[in-house]
């Protein structure tokens, strides 16, 4: 199919000024090819280097000129060799003229595909655009660029330019830079070329999407403001998580001598009765059950079909509200983009008017969406305006899913102001924190934003593909460590840290942290020295927690079978709560009675009375729990008379009340 066909021509600058970033260029390109091997096996790729010592291209043979442009690889279907050849790019010795390279590339694409090719044709230029361009024989450079841009539009070529300016250490070529940037801008204006400036190798790695996903609408239809007012819109996905490629299950069960074994595992499920595991239930006899309380209610699919929720496909406006009513953390899922139906100028104007008014008044729209007919659920979401700066990009909305009442868990947390004073930062501490937040700035004015999501590659995926590459050479290769460009994503940038060292030191000096001394050793894990970096497995985790729990559980339990003299109350309680035999309760009460009698009888001038009352209170408490009352009340009456005029009369009154009540 034409849609799945795609041709890509890489134009890589290998001139001396690029040498420092070449390793990252190599990695970016091989990642690109690897992804194509997985997701687009029919895609075709060619590679042109410029700034090389030698010259090797068709144009130079035909018309001369175009020096230092070398075709490393003609356009052909991707294969593993290409990945290899991209791994060690030759280092060029001459200045690279990117315009020459573009001309050679455009020429190659046109010669190979002409106008009839239905697939997409891309050029990807990676350069630092620091070398001055040669003056053309006729006309100005600007004219030449315009001519090429027209050619590119005519043949449907798209171009992406990545300009790497990692270290501009006082280059004297300011004039050259301005001129080159200007020329690249003409490309963007006159053709569908995009130019991206990146200032670090990390950003370079994320600058080119390593996989082109052709946009597919998830909804085409009306955005209904009311019954009568509708706007035709298309909805696309704006973000979607790029996952690891799906891996097939592999079995080593088949004997290695069996040449025909593919080692692929096909998984089928079969359902067996829980009561009789030997009985297999055929799929048509299965029925879905949902839990209702402790039971499971069987509901057949036919029943469901008859009663389930079936909303009509539609996107309806519910109203507008202040943007401050929708907090950022309510956004639930990946993001969609609402644009007016392409080519429909009235819809475009309507969307534009709404978006601009929303932005002006700081409002957002609440909409209810059912994307497809037959979809079983609705989503309520928020439209936020995306007002475009460029004249060739229409205004649009971003759509984020909002939670329903069921999705919000109302947990309560203590207010910070209710914490003890020792937990509140004092003035100096607050100042140090303010300073840190100001100094550790990832978006310093005048410089580019660091770690912009649009330019940050996924380190785990990068590592996966790197490992895949190693494995294709050696089956047993170990996972490689992250390279420096990727480390800047997982760990703070040392240069930035160095710049704000004073603020960090001041901050660290202001605050004291220490291990909680009350905790057992086994549960401590936070301040323990941890290996950092990517290669060491993280030593903490739930293991130590589990140990802590175990040590709690394994606390020896001493079983009590009689009430002693030292801790009679505790003994009594332990006996009362022994669950291994019901007789313990009776025995405990009997023992306790005897203990109290003993105390009273041996009491000299009531010296044991308080103790006896204590035991009595415990006995009463236990009896309430166990609902034993007859014997107690009888016992208590006797007891009450025994020392009626005692000093602990106050304590007694409640006991007597109790005895009477029982």
């Amino acid at each position: 199919m034409a849609r799945t066909r795609e041709a890509l021509l890489l134009l890589l600058d290998v001139s001396p000024s690029m040498h420092s970033v070449l390793p990252d260029v190599e990695k970016l390109c091989s990642r690109l090819i690897q992804k194509k091997l997985i997701y687009g096996k029919n895609h075709e790729v060619g590679v042109i280097l410029f700034g090389t010592e030698e010259t090797e291209n068709e144009l130079t043979k035909e018309v001369g000129g175009y020096e230092h442009v070398k075709v490393l690889q003609d356009i052909k279907v991707v294969d593993g060799h290409l990945v290899q050849s991209l791994k060690h790019l030759p280092q060029g010795t001459c200045a690279g003229d990117f315009l020459d390279a573009i001309v050679v590339g455009v020429d190659m694409l046109i010669k190979k595909y002409g106008e009839t090719y239905k697939g997409k044709k891309h050029l990807c230029l990676i350069t630092d655009a620091l070398c001055p361009l040669k003056d053309p024989d006729v006309g100005t450079k600007e004219d030449q660029v315009s001519t090429i841009a027209r050619q590119m539009v005519a043949f449907g070529l798209r171009m992406k330019n990545i300009v790497v300016r990692a270290s501009l250490s006082g280059e004297p070529h300011m004039r050259v830079i301005i001129e080159n940037d200007n020329l690249l801008n003409i490309f963007s204006k006159k053709s569908s070329a995009k130019t991206l400036f990146v200032d670090s190798t990390t950003s370079l790695r994320g600058a080119r999407k390593t996989r082109d996903i052709s946009p597919v609408t998830i909804f085409r239809g009306d955005l209904e403001l009311s019954e009568k007012m509708k706007i035709k819109v298309w909805v696309y996905k704006k973000t979607g998580e790029e996952k690891f490629p799906t891996l097939k299950k592999y079995s080593d069960k088949a004997p290695s001598t069996d040449k025909f074994a593919t080692h692929e595992v096909k998984v089928d499920y079969e359902y067996k009765s829980v009561e009789d595991p030997s009985k297999v239930v055929p799929p048509e006899q299965r029925i879905k059950g949902y839990r209702y309380g402790p039971q499971v209610v069987p509901i057949s699919s036919a029943e469901w079909e008859a009663v389930k929720f079936k909303p009509e496909k539609s996107v309806k406006l519910l109203g507008f509200t202040d943007a401050s009513n929708i907090l950022r953390h309510y956004y639930m899922k990946d993001v969609n983009l609402f644009i007016a139906e392409p080519g429909n100028s009235r819809a475009t104007v309507a969307v534009s008017a709404l978006a601009r008014a929303m932005k002006e008044m700081n409002k957002v729209a609440i909409v209810r969406c059912v994307w497809r007919q037959g979809q079983q659920s609705v989503v309520v979401g928020v439209l936020t305006p995306n007002v475009s700066e460029k004249i060739n990009i229409p205004d649009s909305f971003y759509f984020n899913v909002l939670p329903f009442a069921e999705d919000v868990r109302e947990f309560q947390f203590p207010s910070f102001s209710k914490f003890p004073v020792s937990w509140q930062p004092n003035e100096q501490q607050q100042e140090a924190a303010d300073n840190l937040v100001k100094m550790l700035d990832l978006a310093p004015s005048g410089k580019g934003e660091i770690l912009q999501p649009e330019l940050t590659p996924n380190p785990a995926l990068e590592r996966f593909y790197h490992h895949l590459e190693l494995k294709s050479e050696h089956q047993d290769a170990a996972p490689p460590p992250l390279d420096d460009s990727l480390k800047k994503i997982t760990e703070p940038d040392p240069t930035l840290l160095a710049e704000s060292q004073s603020a960090i030191d001041a901050f660290c000096g202001q605050f004291v942290i220490k291990e909680n001394p009350k905790l057992k050793k086994s549960t401590r894990r936070f301040l323990r020295e941890k290996p950092s970096g990517s290669d060491e497995p993280n030593g903490d985790g739930s293991v130590s927690d589990a140990q802590a729990v175990n040590s709690m559980e394994s606390k020896p339990v001493v079983t009590v079978d009689k009430i002693g003299d030292l801790t009679p109350i505790q003994d009594f309680e332990a006996m009362m709560s022994r669950r291994d035999c019901p007789d313990w309760v009776d025995k405990a009460i009997e023992d306790m009675k005897n203990k109290i009698f003993g105390l009273l009888e041996n009491s000299n001038e009531g010296i044991n009375y308080p103790k006896a009352v204590e035991l009595l209170v415990a006995l009463r408490k236990g009896c309430i729990l166990e609902q034993v009352y007859l014997s107690v009340s009888f016992f208590l009456l006797w007891f009450a008379f025994a020392f009626w005029d005692n000093s602990c009369l106050n304590d007694m009154s409640s006991i007597v009340t109790f005895s009477y009540a029982s």
Partner: protein, 611 residues
């Protein structure tokens, strides 16, 4: 029955010196509904919504039934018991007079509600007189005290479980504000005192007693007669009690079916700030999509559960073992590493992938964490910045934005807790590019923007909050499940609150009827402004090439199709002799599918003709 010895005999003085460490919450609830079944409950009535009078007993019972139906979905593990007092018959463990514990087979007295329990309780009123019977339990001259007995039975039921893990409650429904009113003299004092003592004992064991008084419209339930002392009401609370109790009753009836989750720490992580300074954070899931419960596969013949088994069928690749994959993903230790801070405007609306996670500091292991966290929190709020950090979650390592959220308290309740929300940022590969045309696209003029702004002022949802809507799909699911489980005859209709009415207004959000004409006018004006006055919906839509072709083909087919006498051909069995092309003419003319083999086409034609 289980009893936690530590808890039962726990001394109050043992309370930890820092209550913030001990922030445990009961994970489940044990509730005993104590319903007064005295004749007075049956004789007094209240006007109901539909103008008929309903007895207090009916109100109490239907309220409990409603509450149970919600609870079985919301809080699956809560346990309940229903207990009537002032009854003729008795049924309880202690064999006390005048108390009847309602229960069904295969269920302990205090247990999770089952479908059968709810179903039978729904019909309790029909059989009440015969099975249980109503009778005053407290009469002068007798020493019986049914209220006392009821409390005792309830307390006995609640012996189960420890009050550390379970919240124990007695809910008392009555319309008698002076239960011992019929008794005089010393006997009354005695009874009052013993009952109070009984209630106090229960409260000492961690059982809370709540009163839900019912009163006829013209008479007031005087809490001060007896119950104020029992439930410990004093001063101002006393005056406020009656209105709040009425509200509580309403709330019980009208609850959203919503599965409750107990507050649980998802993970403890350490937040590495710099220079080896790291603090301790707990993460919580505050917002997560709720899905209908898990499916259990059953055998449709026996309704017995099934369990899945694996059947593996065996049929030069690069191999990855599971260990290797998890090793690859472990690009960093499982902590949060601070990179730095950015102004909030750098966090775009499309920088989102998954529901956010809430983080709150903890001083449990690292003393000083909370202090540092509060300081950073305040600075970030004041300077309008968010923190960028790398969260090395082993399963999905990501860059995250930490957005500080100040506490929002509205009407005495915490709407937003203070803390930070961790928002998962996309990587470059996760963001789809915007495709652009080379041509300039039209923009709205200032006037059009002004009209849109006017529209926005009209359709303004002033107090919109995200939890206003219930998920109609989920509510429908629960309702259907309930209807099937309780074998109710009619399927309940669940109103979809998210559908706007004809005028395009969400009825739930727009209560003010007078502003509607204004809204309609504003919409009209906006429409006129952007679409012009000769707006024709179809006219603006370009009919695509393919659909035009299809339309032409259908018209053509209809014409051609008329040349054949299809009924005759079918009768004579001559359809078989025709070509597929000819057969397709008929199908296209009648808007039927043209796919399949010749036999399929013929049978489709015959079916359509009704033969």
């Amino acid at each position: 029955m289980e009893l936690d010895p530590d808890d039962v005999f726990r001394d109050d003085d043992e309370e930890s010196d820092n209550e913030f460490y001990q922030e445990h919450e009961a994970t489940k609830e044990y509730v005993v509904y104590l319903v007064d079944a005295s004749p007075k409950m049956f004789s007094t009535t209240c006007p109901a919504e539909d103008q008929t009078d309903e007895t207090h007993f009916h109100i109490a019972v239907s309220c409990i039934a409603q509450s149970l139906k919600t609870q079985i979905i919301n809080r699956l593990y809560d346990e309940v018991a229903i207990c009537f007092f002032n009854t003729r018959k008795k049924k309880n463990l202690q064999d006390l007079n005048g108390v009847f514990v309602f229960n069904v087979a295969e269920r302990e007295q205090l247990d999770r509600p089952t479908a059968r329990f709810i179903k039978e309780f729904d019909h309790i009123e029909e059989s009440f007189e015969k099975e249980i019977g109503s009778q005053y339990g407290i009469v002068s001259g007798s020493r019986e005290n049914s209220l006392y007995n009821a409390l005792w039975v309830a307390q006995g039921l609640l012996r189960k479980g420890s009050s550390k893990t379970a919240d124990k409650r007695i809910l008392l429904f009555t319309n008698e504000d002076d239960p011992f009113g019929s008794i005089k003299g010393a006997a009354k004092n005695d009874m009052t005192r013993t009952t109070m003592q009984r209630a106090k004992d229960a409260q000492d064991l961690g059982i809370s007693i709540e009163l839900l008084p019912l009163s006829p419209p013209d008479e007031e339930f005087k809490v001060s007669h007896f119950y104020a002392d029992m439930i410990g009401l004093e001063g101002d609370d006393l005056a406020l009690f009656m209105p709040s109790a009425g509200q509580k009753l309403e709330d019980m009836k009208d609850q959203l079916r919503k599965r409750m989750f107990s507050k649980r720490i998802v993970k403890r992580i350490s937040f590495i700030i710099a220079n080896g300074l790291s603090i301790e954070l707990n993460t919580y899931a505050l917002i997560r999509p709720t899905v209908p419960g898990a499916i259990t596969w059953l055998d449709s013949v026996t309704n017995h559960p099934l369990k899945p088994g694996f059947l593996c069928i065996f049929s030069e690749n690069i191999k990855f073992s599971v260990q290797e994959l998890s090793e690859i993903k472990r690009v960093s230790t499982g902590h949060l590493r601070l990179h730095g801070f950015k102004p909030l405007s750098y966090l775009k609306d499309y920088h989102n992938l998954r529901p956010s996670t809430f983080v709150f500091p903890s001083d449990k292991e690292v003393v000083g964490s909370t202090c540092i966290f509060i300081a950073l929190h305040r600075s970030m709020l004041r300077l309008n910045r968010f923190a960028v950090a790398f969260y090395g979650n082993p399963s999905n390592p990501r860059l995250v934005a930490l957005v500080a959220q100040d506490e929002i308290v509205r009407a005495g309740g915490q709407v937003e807790p203070p803390g930070m929300h961790m928002i998962y940022l996309p990587y470059s590969d996760d963001i789809r590019p915007l495709h652009s045309d080379t041509d300039a696209v039209p923009r709205a003029s200032d006037d059009e923007v002004k009209k849109a702004a006017a529209l926005m002022k009209r359709i303004d949802l002033k107090d919109f909050s995200v939890c206003q809507f219930a998920n109609p799909s989920l509510q429908r699911h629960y309702a259907v499940l309930q209807a099937l489980a309780l074998e109710e005859d009619d399927m309940p209709e669940i109103k979809d609150e998210t559908v706007p009415d004809e005028e395009g207004m969400a009825s739930k959000l727009f209560t003010c009827a007078t502003c509607r004409p204004g809204v309609v006018k504003a919409v009209e004006e906006f429409k006129l402004s952007v679409y012009g006055d000769n707006y024709d919906e179809e006219g603006d839509v370009k009919v695509s090439e393919a659909s035009r072709k299809r339309k032409a083909a259908t018209e053509n087919a209809a014409k051609e199709c008329a040349n054949y006498d299809w009924a005759d051909l079918a009768d004579k069995g001559k359809l078989k002799e025709m070509t597929v092309q000819e057969l397709k003419l008929y199908l296209m003319a009648h808007n039927l599918s043209t796919t399949g083999r010749k036999e399929t086409l013929i049978s489709r034609i015959l079916t359509h003709m009704g033969k």
